[in-house]
């Protein structure tokens, strides 16, 4: 495995609300109040209509497994093989993630399986949003 730790996000003014949310255990998205579009990644305006009349809200955290790969390549801070996945959020946007609390195998990772958001605290500043298989309800 290569030396070093995994690359961590460096928040910017447009994304600071998102990273503040994950620190508090909230997955935050933005909604355009002009046209209703829910979007991600964060920015100060709606990428659909250009309106700056946008608000931040707490997402449900429910998603499905949209697609993934299982990487066998070395990566700093990861133990191959590990899945790199894309979650399709209930609200519409897609988000890259790892799948925690789950075997990293094609048999365990089934497309469209329900996922729930969870939060992986890395340090005092950075908590990563992650996903895990939804628990039986």
């Amino acid at each position: 495995m290569p030396q070093g730790e995994r690359e961590l996000p460096r928040p910017t003014p447009e994304t600071s609300h998102f990273w503040e949310g994950t620190r508090r255990g909230e997955l935050r998205l933005q909604r355009c109040e002009a046209c209703g579009t829910v979007y991600f990644p964060p920015r100060h305006f709606c990428p659909k209509c250009g309106s700056t009349y946008v608000s931040v809200f707490r997402a449900s955290g429910r998603a499905t497994l949209h697609s993934y790969v299982i990487s066998h390549l070395p990566a700093p801070g990861f133990e191959p093989p590990y899945a790199i996945a894309v979650a399709l959020l209930e609200e519409g946007p897609k988000m890259m993630c790892n799948i925690l609390e789950c075997a990293q195998t094609p048999e365990a990772l089934v497309l469209d399986m329900p996922l729930d958001v969870c939060f992986e605290k890395i340090n005092d500043e950075i908590t990563l949003p992650q996903f895990r298989p939804a628990r039986e309800s």
Partner: protein, 379 residues
């Protein structure tokens, strides 16, 4: 653009491809450039426009001893050269310059004189993708494919057939890096890189370069080589983040670039004799065939597996062996263009008989950008 108003009059790859420990990246640019200028029957002093991707065009100009009147450094990944052909044609038509040199050089394997990324880093990728362990292209470009496989029933065996068929073409090309024939079992038995992608579904990593010389068609007719006309072009870009691709089964950038190229060339799919689709990984020809409109959604895998794109098939595709078997320095688009030019000149190692129209389609980044060029040998 006006169809056939500009022509490629010089074209060459570097003298050597593969492992070139004797040349740094800038020298690979220059080696290809000098070859292409000689091919055109011109001299360095005739060049007044310089374009390159993934490298500072000012360094290329200075290294070649040229003070140009026009520069373009569009760097959107491996299809940058398709976009540069389009931009060069516009510049020549506008009278900004008369004779454009487009160069590519990449010490992809040896890493000699290579500085940084050939594409601008993305702010969003740093925050929203890299923390999840994406590293090199195999960990990103492949991510949409399981979605495609589920939606259309594409199997790993059919995906493997893309590599098998391209190896058939490479077997006809003495300059190809890998020429021995392979089977589906060979592909599916090769080392797992990034599930569901195995080693033989991923491109090579090599050193090399290529260059093109373009000028007005009226002038081209009196030059050393038969002109290869730029009949139509298109370009587009969607996103630098693979996770934010709108539809994991189709590239918006492919659809826009392809449709624009076909419309500007005034051709339909039945007119195409020869096709190149940038194949950094085995799924790209599948997405390309569908997004360019050659086949319907979900049909490209079976179309390839049934043999339509292999030697002797109805739609010869990636006739040099492609990035999977010919060579892939990192920004493969230049080599796809070179093969399009060879086919239009009638001098390709695996020549398609009587070919008059070649479509060369490129991808940049991970489905991030796209460029399409329609070439013809008919004025």
């Amino acid at each position: 653009m006006r169809p056939n108003s500009v022509a490629i009059v010089g074209a060459s790859e570097t003298t050597e491809l593969g492992k070139v420990p004797t040349m740094s990246q800038v020298q690979l640019h220059a080696d290809a450039a000098l070859n292409a200028i000689a091919d055109a029957g011109l001299e360095l002093g005739d060049i007044d426009g310089i374009a390159t991707g993934g490298h500072n065009p000012v360094e290329i100009a200075h290294y070649l001893g040229i003070v140009p009147e026009w520069l373009d450094g569009t760097s959107v990944g491996g299809c940058s050269f398709m976009l540069l052909v389009r931009h060069a044609a516009a510049a020549i038509n506008e009278g900004l310059c008369t004779t454009v040199l487009i160069t590519h050089g990449e010490s992809g394997r040896s890493g000699l004189g290579r500085h940084g990324s050939s594409i601008f880093p993305s702010l969003f990728q740093q925050q929203f993708e890299r923390p999840y362990g994406v590293t090199r292209p195999p960990t990103m470009f492949t991510i949409p494919v399981l979605r495609y496989m589920k939606q259309y029933g594409l199997t790993e065996e059919t995906l493997a057939m893309v590599a098998v068929v391209q190896r058939e073409w490479a077997g006809l090309n003495p300059r190809a890096s890998f020429r021995d024939s392979i089977t589906v079992d060979d592909v599916l038995g090769s080392r797992m890189i990034c599930y569901p992608f195995r080693l033989l579904m991923c491109c090579l990593v090599t050193d090399g370069g290529g260059a093109l010389v373009l000028t007005r068609s009226e002038r081209a007719r009196d030059m050393r080589r038969p002109p290869v006309y730029v009949r139509g072009t298109g370009e587009s870009g969607e996103t630098p983040l693979i996770s934010q691709m709108d539809d994991f089964t189709s590239s918006a950038a492919f659809r826009v670039a392809g449709a624009r190229a076909f419309a500007s060339a005034g051709i339909s799919h039945g007119d195409v004799d020869h096709l190149m689709i940038y194949d950094a990984f085995a799924h790209l020809p599948i997405y390309g065939l569908e997004d360019l409109g050659f086949v319907d959604r979900g049909e490209a895998g079976p179309f390839i597996a049934e043999g339509h794109t292999r030697p002797g098939g109805s739609l010869p595709l990636n006739t040099n062996g492609g990035g999977l078997s010919y060579m892939h320095s990192g920004m493969y688009g230049m080599y796809a263009l070179q093969e399009g030019v060879r086919q239009m000149r009638g001098e390709a190692p695996a020549q398609v008989e009587d070919a008059e129209i070649s479509v060369v389609h490129g991808v940049g980044g991970m489905f991030g950008a796209s460029g399409t060029v329609v070439l013809t040998n008919v004025a």
